[in-house]
């Protein structure tokens, strides 16, 4: 980040004006109150205040990098205390050198500097404290404003994702086709019709009551998916099987809600709908380092020609994971030996 004092014209003008005012006060104290020689009073106030004005600009950087986020409070204070002593010391010494060797003040001036050394030192420390406090105020104010902007951006992204996922979560054709199956079963097998109605209701209730920001146990997520698969199984008469390999430990892990649903919908859509053979859907879950690794595999008919819309569901998951975990490499998929393999990493 640039030094905001230098990069903004108005700020540098105000900064300069304030220092001129301080210089004038300095001069008034020397000339009118302490009755010091006019020429010496001018040199003293100009040189010392000009020097601090320049040094003050560079104080932005320690304030910027010694932050309360990175260091403990005592470290910050200690750092600034050391910096204040150093800066004030250099300032006094430089001013002294200039006045003695460049302006060539006489013995009275020299004595005056030495006698007022303590006052000057305290003033220097005070300048340091004031400037540093201003810097911190500025930094935190800017951060705060950035935070507000970022948050509102994130909010709108979340909203957008919510809307999108609402659109994708419940596929209306799935509902209508299921209702058609129920309609058919009411004639041929009323018990099964009732079973399917209840399963469809539970699934819809589970889906509708969840929202995107929520996290649920993997166990619950899988439960809802099983409901979905059960319904599809009635429709497609066991044209597919689910092979589950998820340990109890994994089942207790928190995952974003509805994160797996679209993967299974894809598996059904591209694996089962498009195939006339029996299809196996595999779900395998394992803890790996700091991640929960979930692999969903399904057979697909290599001869079926991909149709439009493939990958929208997966893109959607990718976006959500990125939004939640700030990582864009959590979902990968590939086709291998007539199998479609989706690998998902959920940070623990």
């Amino acid at each position: 980040m640039f030094n905001p004092y230098v990069s903004n014209r108005n700020v540098i003008l105000i900064y300069g004006a304030v220092w001129i005012l301080i210089g004038l006060i300095h001069f008034t104290i020397l000339f009118n109150v302490l009755q010091i020689d006019f020429e010496y009073a001018v040199w003293d106030s100009v040189i010392y205040n000009f020097l601090f004005a320049v040094v003050g600009l560079s104080l932005w950087f320690p304030s910027r990098y010694i932050t309360f986020e990175n260091y403990s409070v005592s470290r910050v204070l200690l750092n600034h205390f050391a910096a204040a002593l150093l800066v004030t010391g250099i300032w006094l010494f430089a001013g002294y050198l200039i006045l003695i060797f460049a302006v060539k003040v006489d013995k009275t001036g020299y004595d005056f500097i030495i006698n007022t050394l303590l006052v000057r030192f305290v003033t220097g420390l005070m300048f340091y404290v004031i400037i540093t406090s201003l810097n911190y105020t500025l930094i935190y104010y800017t951060n705060f404003r950035e935070q507000v902007v970022k948050e509102s951006k994130l909010n709108s992204l979340v909203k957008e994702a919510e809307l999108k996922s609402l659109k994708y979560q419940i596929n209306p054709h799935f509902i209508f086709n299921s209702l058609n199956s129920i309609s058919s079963l009411t004639i041929s097998n009323p018990t099964k019709a009732q079973e399917m109605t209840i399963k469809l209701s539970s699934f819809l209730r589970g889906t509708l009551s969840r929202n995107d920001n929520q996290k649920v146990k993997l166990k619950e997520e899988i439960q809802n998916i099983k409901l979905y698969l059960d319904i599809e199984k009635i429709r497609f008469e066991d044209k597919f099987d689910l092979v589950e390999n998820v340990s109890d430990e994994c089942k207790e892990t928190q995952v974003p809600s509805m994160i797996l649903q679209p993967i299974f919908e894809n598996a059904i859509k591209h694996g089962v709908y498009e195939s006339i053979e029996n299809v196996v859907i595999n779900v395998d879950c394992k803890k790996e380092n700091d991640y929960l690794r979930i692999i969903v595999t399904n057979d697909y008919d290599p001869e079926s020609v991909p149709r439009k819309g493939e990958g929208i569901g997966l893109k959607n998951i990718q976006n959500r994971l990125q939004l939640i975990y700030n990582q864009d490499n959590l979902l990968t998929y590939k086709k291998e030996n007539n199998k479609f393999i989706v690998t998902l990493y959920i940070p623990l």
Binding site: S184, F236, Y273, S304
Partner: protein, 250 residues
């Protein structure tokens, strides 16, 4: 000859077929002659058995109901049965016999069947209807992502990326692919409109070429060019075709 209305059902879900079977059983003048579980079976059964009426699902494995229609040699009445209202409405607009949105009531089925029987009194009309139906699909703005062709009993689904070039042959279009050539009863205009314009270019009255397949373009005679394709074939490029091509080869 049997006076009964001969019906074929094409649907990949047994429960969906069951409900149709149940409804059909209520009618003595209707006879179910075949049940098909996918488009391939559907094409074979319909071409072999020549039914009067087909209840046709749209989303099925292998090929869709609409693609299946393109491969029929006969023109039965078509009643769509689907959960997708976007297709069904389209079919309705062009006078398909009827569409049934799943799930549908017995009364609604009855109505559709009555309509079909009415129309059967005039077969000419129904032929017109199905041609319109197929052509209507042609008129949609949707770009093709695959083409279905049939030679003898074999049905092939060709992804459009596999098309090397298309060549006009009387009332047909010859589709050239790495795996072989296929004839399709369509017009060049149809393909020109339904293939992605930035991937397939009409380079000549009788040729459309896949841009990716062009190896080299060379001057043949004054103002006429030839395109050498990766497959080794050379195809003529007309003056206007050349200017079409130039935009994309820049």
């Amino acid at each position: 000859m049997n006076d009964k209305v001969k019906v074929v059902i094409v649907d990949d879900e047994r429960l969906a077929r069951d409900i149709l079977k149940n409804y059909i059983r209520e009618h003595d003048n209707v006879e179910l002659i075949a049940e098909c579980t996918n488009g391939f079976e559907g094409v074979k059964s319909i071409n072999d058995l020549k039914p009067d009426l087909v209840f046709l699902d749209i989303q099925m494995p292998k090929i869709t109901g609409f693609e299946m229609l393109e491969l029929l040699e006969t023109t039965p009445q078509i009643i769509f049965t689907t959960a997708y209202d976007q297709y069904a409405l389209k079919a309705f607009e062009v006078n398909a016999t009827d569409y049934l949105l799943k799930p549908f009531a017995y009364d609604r089925f009855d109505e559709a069947l009555a309509k079909a029987i009415d129309k059967m009194a005039d077969r000419g009309k129904s032929k017109e209807a199905i041609e319109k139906l197929v052509n209507h699909k042609d008129q949609s703005d949707e770009k093709l992502d695959r083409v279905v062709v049939k030679s003898g009993q074999k049905i092939t689904v060709i992804p459009v990326e596999d098309l090397q070039y298309l060549e006009a042959q009387d009332d047909y279009v010859m589709l050239h692919t790495k795996q072989g050539n296929h004839l399709k009863q369509k017009t060049m205009k149809y393909f020109e409109e339904h293939l992605q314009a930035n991937k397939f270019i009409r380079v000549h009255r009788s040729y459309i070429v896949n841009l990716n397949e062009i190896e080299e373009l060379y001057l043949h005679e004054k103002e006429t060019y030839r395109a050498l394709l990766k497959c080794g074939d050379k195809i003529p490029v007309s003056k206007s075709g050349y200017s079409n091509l130039k935009e994309f080869l820049k």
